[in-house]
């Protein structure tokens, strides 16, 4: 089969390799344009506050100050990051209107001749803020009387009228009654910052034909272009988005945060405008992976079979949705793990707090669940008195098994992957596990394979 393969099975040099090792690869801000202006953002110093007033009079007097933009300058002042694929409501502002909901939220965009002038003008923006109580923990945010972060009255994303994603299979309570062991655990993960070596940034440049060229290191060129068109209320064909090599993304450059305001500034000044995050903005303001809290309650028989799993999980979306409601949906479908469990109940909440908004990162919605589930499986193994391989082989899902969200498993490969792992580390599995496959169980819904 490999007789006439020219690429598969070969070591092939990267097409951009020479550019990278010579430094000739061009990244977004490796460009400078005559007359280019610099945009720096005046941001909220408080976690939660009402904006009573903004005074720009001192900032405007800084030599090199060109223009300030506030909420009223933005034609459609809402991000619609996932609105284009039906995940709503739109609730995050390009520039804050009457309230700020996290420390670092953008309020005033300052455009100036030099970076130093922009920094100085930002430092002279006078914000009149009335501090409001803030909440930083997912369960605190769901208690009665908690400060409300959203504009719709509660701190959860609503899924078709429900405050959480709900998955039900069988009857967990009855199965707990039949179990020999009940094993519980609570698992917490922290927010994780992608920290790409290149920070988020873009340069918006007016072109001769009335279009705007926007050089950006977004991972999602069409998200960025479509959202910018909606926010600026211009047809998409007035925008010319140019991507290229991204200096590290990992999911952290999918949130379309810098292009709309930089393009608006280019429109208002008729000059190129650069908006590139400083390292501290990248740390503080750009999206992180969500922090997550997962409660697991498992019912297990004395011979190690999982007969019931109840999952209650809370994702910390921070102050705004970004992509977390979507992550949560993926998470809910997978939160019981790659195991064959006849009774499952999952309640997964997307919770809003006054932390910086969270969003995509590799393994989006699943990585935290894997951490919780696999530590839990080891706990179960210990309680039942078997080794960690055994507990997993006994409970591994196979093709044709009913997954908790009512889909039949296809392309299951947990068993084969564990067998390969055992070989790799030199662990000798019992013959029973060596002989196992992901083929459907006798009498399952699916034949063959």
């Amino acid at each position: 089969m490999s007789a006439h393969l020219n690429v598969v099975g070969q070591s092939v040099a990267r097409s951009d390799g020479i550019g990278h090792v010579t430094g000739r690869t061009q990244y977004t801000t490796d460009r400078t344009f005559p007359g280019m202006l610099h945009l720096k953002m005046a941001r909220s110093p408080l976690h939660h506050a009402r904006i009573k007033g903004i005074d720009l009079s001192e900032a405007e007097r800084v030599p090199g100050f060109v223009r300030a933009l506030t909420a009223k300058d933005v034609p459609h002042n809402r991000y619609t990051i996932l609105g284009l694929i039906g995940v709503e409501p739109e609730e995050e502002f390009v520039l804050a209107e009457d309230r700020v909901r996290f420390k670092g939220e953008a309020i005033v965009a300052i455009v100036a001749e030099t970076e130093e002038a922009a920094f100085e003008a930002v430092s002279k923006v006078r914000l009149d803020l009335e501090e409001l109580p803030a909440v930083f923990d997912v369960e605190e945010a769901l208690k009665p009387g908690a400060p409300i972060v959203t504009h719709w009255g509660n701190n959860t994303f609503m899924y078709e009228g429900h405050p959480c994603r709900r998955v039900r299979l069988g009857d967990v309570e009855r199965a707990f009654g039949q179990a020999d062991h009940i094993i519980e655990g609570v698992y917490n993960t922290s927010p994780i910052e992608h920290a790409p070596t290149e920070t988020t940034g873009c340069i918006a440049v007016p072109e001769a034909n009335g279009r705007y060229a926007v050089y950006t290191n977004t991972q999602a060129l069409y998200f960025s272009l479509d959202n910018t068109a909606i926010i600026l209320q211009v047809p998409g064909n007035r925008l010319h988005f140019i991507g290229g090599t991204v200096g590290g993304g990992f999911g952290g450059k999918v949130d379309v945060i810098v292009e709309p305001i930089a393009t608006l500034a280019a429109m208002k000044t008729n000059r190129p405008v650069k908006f590139s995050y400083s390292r501290s903005e990248e740390m503080q303001v750009s999206s992180t992976r969500s922090a997550w809290r997962i409660y697991l309650k498992d019912g297990v028989t004395s011979d190690g079979r999982l007969i019931a799993r109840k999952v209650t999980s809370y994702a910390d979306s921070g102050a705004y949705s970004r992509q977390t409601p979507y992550a949560l949906t993926k998470h809910a479908a997978n939160a019981a793990g790659p195991y064959n469990i006849p009774n499952v109940s999952i309640d997964a909440y997307c919770v809003f707090t006054n932390r910086p908004p969270t969003s995509a990162m590799r393994g989006f919605g699943i990585t935290m669940a894997s951490f919780a589930l696999e530590v839990q499986m080891d706990k179960i193994a210990e309680r039942v008195g078997v080794d960690p391989w055994t507990i997993r082989f006994l409970n591994a899902y196979r093709n044709g098994d009913m997954k908790p969200h009512r889909k039949l498993a296809e392309d299951a490969t947990l068993i084969e992957t564990m067998q390969a792992a055992a070989t790799l580390v030199g662990h000798d599995l019992p013959d029973e596990f060596k002989a196992m496959t992901s083929a459907p169980r006798a009498g399952s819904h699916v034949e063959g394979r």
């Binding site: 990267r14 390799g17 990278h20 090792v21 010579t22 801000t29 490796d30 790409p196 070596t197 290149e198």
Partner: protein, 164 residues
């Protein structure tokens, strides 16, 4: 204070730049000389993507006012790239797949150059210590360390034939 003129050696040529006070070497290279191989990752001296050599020693160009290096020799990725082909360190990085996004690569290559100029036969510990100031968020560092070992061997074998 008005702008001043600063003269320094940029590779083999002498350059003269006019700068506002305390403009960093990083900004001079990237914005005035069009030499954008030197990158801009943090401006804190924490990531190493801005590393260049001054008189052969690695420095964080983002923390260095260009006035401070008047009359000195600055070496960057551009100045070690030959007119044709690649420097052995560049070739080793290419062959070892010692990059993914490429943003840390210029800094990594410059630190490697300084290391191999000082220690033509570095141990694993020497390499690790030398690279402590260069952050890579993509590769996990192993292919980079491997590349430096490959480059060291190539340079030792061809000692005297290749420009260092």
């Amino acid at each position: 204070m008005a702008s001043t003129i600063v003269t320094f050696e940029f590779g083999e040529r002498e350059v003269e730049v006019m700068v506002r006070p305390m403009t960093t070497l990083q900004i001079v290279l990237r914005e005035q000389l069009g030499a954008t191989a030197t990158k801009d990752g943090c401006r804190q001296g924490g990531c190493g993507s801005c590393i260049v050599l001054v008189d052969g020693e690695p420095v964080m160009s983002c923390l260095l006012p260009v006035e401070d290096i008047a009359g000195r020799r600055v070496t960057t990725l551009e100045t070690i790239t030959p007119a044709e082909g690649l420097h052995p360190i560049q070739q080793a990085f290419l062959d070892s797949y010692a990059f993914q996004c490429g943003y840390c690569t210029p800094g990594m290559v410059m630190t490697s150059k300084a290391l191999l100029d000082h220690h033509p036969d570095p141990s694993g510990d020497d390499i690790g210590e030398a690279l402590a100031g260069n952050v890579c968020r993509c590769t996990g560092y192993r292919p980079i360390i491997r590349a430096i070992g490959v480059a060291a061997e190539a340079l030792r074998e061809s000692d005297g034939e290749q420009p260092r």
